[in-house]
Amino acid sequence: MKLRRTMMFVPGNNPGMLINAGIYGADTIIFDLEDSVALSEKDAARHLVYNAMKSIRYSCEVAVRINHISTPFGYKDLETILAVKPDLIRLPKAETAADIEEIDELITAAEIKHGFRPGSINMMAAIETAKGIRNAYDIAAASPRMVAIAIGGEDYLADLQTSRTKDGKEFFAGRGQLILAAREAGIHAIDTVFGDVNNEEDFIAETTRIKEMGFDGKSVVNPRQINIVHEIYAPTEKEIDHAQRVIAAYEESLARKSGVVSLNGKMIDIPVVKRAQRTLAYANAVGKNERGTTL
């Protein structure tokens, strides 16, 4: 099971950061060609990211945030970056399914051109406007390449005509819509960045909140935020123990070729099994599944 607890943004125009991006344990690194890169450096960043991806072996999922295709940079970003086969293309400011469909076609063409396996490059989209939130499900379901939708913070709040608060009321409706859309489409829901890197307390509170809402992970802007998120997402010993029992019961029922899964005399539904699998995936990722229950 692919985890995306942390998706770390790395400015595409900083060679030192590009080289070291993979060492901090983020589930996904996102090389950014968009907001963190000044207009005058768009071409340089594109080529730096291209060359980094060509020559460095990253051990985690590698995504590239391209500029929107309505800007003068989006198509060029895609043309250059698709040649080095990113795992994931992240589109900013998605508002309609059509945005996704257009990029999907470009990726398909690139896969053919470069001889990559069809469908091997995934997509995700950041939703940063009220209109995008209204269309969230359509965006999430617009292409089989879609693996995640994310809520983008500052632009979204500007569109909503509000600003950040400590307890995140302003994000409540948007996050709620986003998670529902992602779940309906069967893909990941990723929360926005928390930019105040030195404010650990509020970062922990926000991450705990979005985990409870059902988000699969969070965008991060600094390697120091990674372990904090992973610790919050780490299941407790009790949760792991329960999940291991559920999986054991499930496997036993498979071995018996019985359609009914039961644990301690209680029936278990398939969603419960899936949840147990998810729990163990998180446990594996932090090395806590010591019994080594297979998934």
Partner: protein
């Protein structure tokens, strides 16, 4: 002669009396007696306070060709060394050997006096900037002798480094020569390095900007060792002497290295109740304090003692009861200075107590774990902390050799790359600390254990660290940055690097 770390040491080196090649960390058996200062008589109610540095130079009998010493507790705020050398130059004295415990960038001021021949030889722990360049240039009449802190204390005590006159910057001094480092506007905390000079120099001159009526208390350097006292307006710049509390790095790469180092300690087999620890003041080494602290709290472990150059994160652990006692040879920041002044469990110690391999028990021999920084490491686990990528002196050996040898577990932390340069390589340019005393190398991309430490290799398997062979780390570094050409050097030996036991572990030749 090829020495124990494979370095070619000439049989004779002009200007160096005893050329004995390094063999291994512990086989060298010292012979002879501990030396001592000249016997003097002191008459009742004698006056030690003199009017000027010049007067003290005369009274102490400084002559051409003598050896003078200083301490480096004032670091980059030191005025004493510069003002004394300037006064000596004004008197027209020449051909001196300068033997400070270390040199800082601020001491660049003395370069003209080296060029004029006031100073013709240097024996120290290291140097930086233009002074480092000068010492590497081979322009001095003798090669510079680089010693560790413990090695310097040893050399002084056995007479290899005989100090004719020690000039001691004294943050607080009474009229009869009792000195401490914790009071006055130039307080620096521990005077550990100066203690050895005071005990063994033929003449001791205290230079102070805080002269107090007799008696001063507490006493770090006693009246029995001090001949003369000179009061000056200022012995140092407080801003350069000690910083505000040294803070834990926010650099994610240093934090990652620190986290790996702390995890390596946790699984090493040494992380037990009453273990002991030394952390360097370098970024990643200091940052390990944060992660160790968390692990100690979580597992209910406290340390018996902490050692070394002392910093605020260490003091916090002392005050929180995570460390029972701190032994202190040098303080790096204001909280450390305040602590040594008020906390009975914060003990000042001399460089000999700290690290001299040839006394009856330096505290490094009781040390379980040390984390050290490095400039370069090689596939034999040898460490360079003295020369840069151009072969120029830019650092100091400090306590590196001593703690690596003494500690049961020595961990060296270094980034795999600095800029575009690999830091793990086939051969370091200068060996300072032999690989035989280095157990684990921690970089941001991988952790390598010295193959001789089969116990550690076994213990760290459970640690979920990116374990690699040292050769894999080197290959990874070369893959990113390419393999640099070796530095081209001339035949001129600009400096020799002593091992702590007085044998030669390497020589520094002037780069072409």
């Amino acid at each position: 002669m090829i020495n124990g770390v494979g370095r070619d040491i000439p049989e004779k080196i002009a200007g160096i009396k005893n050329v004995a090649p390094y063999v291994d960390p512990f086989s060298n058996v010292p012979v002879g007696q501990i030396t001592g200062p000249k016997i003097v008589a002191n008459k009742p109610r004698s006056e030690k306070v003199l009017q000027s540095i010049e007067q003290a130079i005369d009274a102490a009998g400084l002559k051409d060709g003598m050896t003078i010493s200083f301490h480096h507790h004032f670091r980059n705020g030191d005025y004493v060394l510069n003002m004394v050398i300037a006064a000596i130059a004004r008197k027209g004295i020449k051909g001196l050997t300068l033997a400070p415990s270390s040199l800082n960038t601020i001491n660049e001021e003395i370069i003209p006096y080296i060029e004029q021949g006031v100073i013709t030889a240097v024996e120290t722990s290291g140097a930086r900037g233009k002074l480092g360049q000068l010492l590497t240039s081979g322009k001095l009449s003798k090669p510079t002798i680089i010693r560790s802190h413990g090695g310097r204390a040893r050399a002084i005590e056995c007479g290899e480094l005989h100090i004719d006159i020690a000039f001691i910057g004294a943050p607080a001094c009474d009229t009869y020569g009792n000195i401490n480092g914790v009071e006055g506007k130039s307080a620096c905390g521990s005077l550990g390095y100066a203690m050895v000079d005071a005990a063994y120099a033929d003449k001791v001159v205290a230079i102070t900007d805080h002269l107090v009526p007799y008696p001063l208390f507490p006493i770090s350097i006693p009246q029995t060792q001090v001949d003369y006292i000179v009061q000056v307006e200022s012995i140092g710049d407080p801003k350069g002497i000690a910083s505000g509390a040294l803070r834990i790095s926010k650099d994610p790469r240093e934090l990652l290295i620190a986290q790996y180092a702390a995890t390596a300690i946790e699984y090493s087999g040494y992380f037990k109740q009453d273990y002991s620890i030394q952390l360097g003041s370098g970024g990643a080494s200091l940052a390990a304090a944060r992660f160790l602290k968390e692990k100690m709290k979580k597992q209910g472990i406290t340390a018996s003692f902490g050692l070394g150059g002392v910093t605020a994160p260490f003091i916090e652990m002392l005050e929180e009861g995570l460390i029972k006692a701190v032994y202190d040879v040098q303080d790096f920041d204001i909280p450390s200075i305040e602590s040594i002044k008020k906390n009975r469990n914060h003990q000042e110690m001399s460089a000999s107590f700290y690290a001299n391999p040839h006394n009856r028990g330096p505290i490094v021999n009781q040390l379980d774990v040390v984390i050290l920084s490095a400039t370069e490491v090689d596939v034999d686990f040898n460490v360079n902390v003295i020369t840069d990528s151009n072969g120029v002196i830019m650092g100091a050996v400090g306590g590196h050799q001593d703690t690596a040898a003494g500690a049961a577990l020595s961990i060296v932390v270094a980034p795999l790359l600095r800029g575009r340069l690999p830091m793990v390589m086939d051969q370091v340019h200068t060996v300072c600390t032999p690989g035989a005393t280095v157990d684990i190398i921690v970089t941001e991309r991988g952790v390598a254990v010295n193959p001789q430490r089969k116990d550690l290799i076994k213990n760290l398997k459970a640690a979920n660290l990116p374990m690699m062979d040292i050769e894999e780390l080197r290959d990874l570094a070369y893959e990113f940055a390419g393999k640099p050409d070796p530095i081209q050097v001339s035949d001129k030996i600009a400096a020799v690097v002593e091992y702590r036991d007085g044998t030669l572990i390497d020589v520094i030749r002037t780069p072409l």
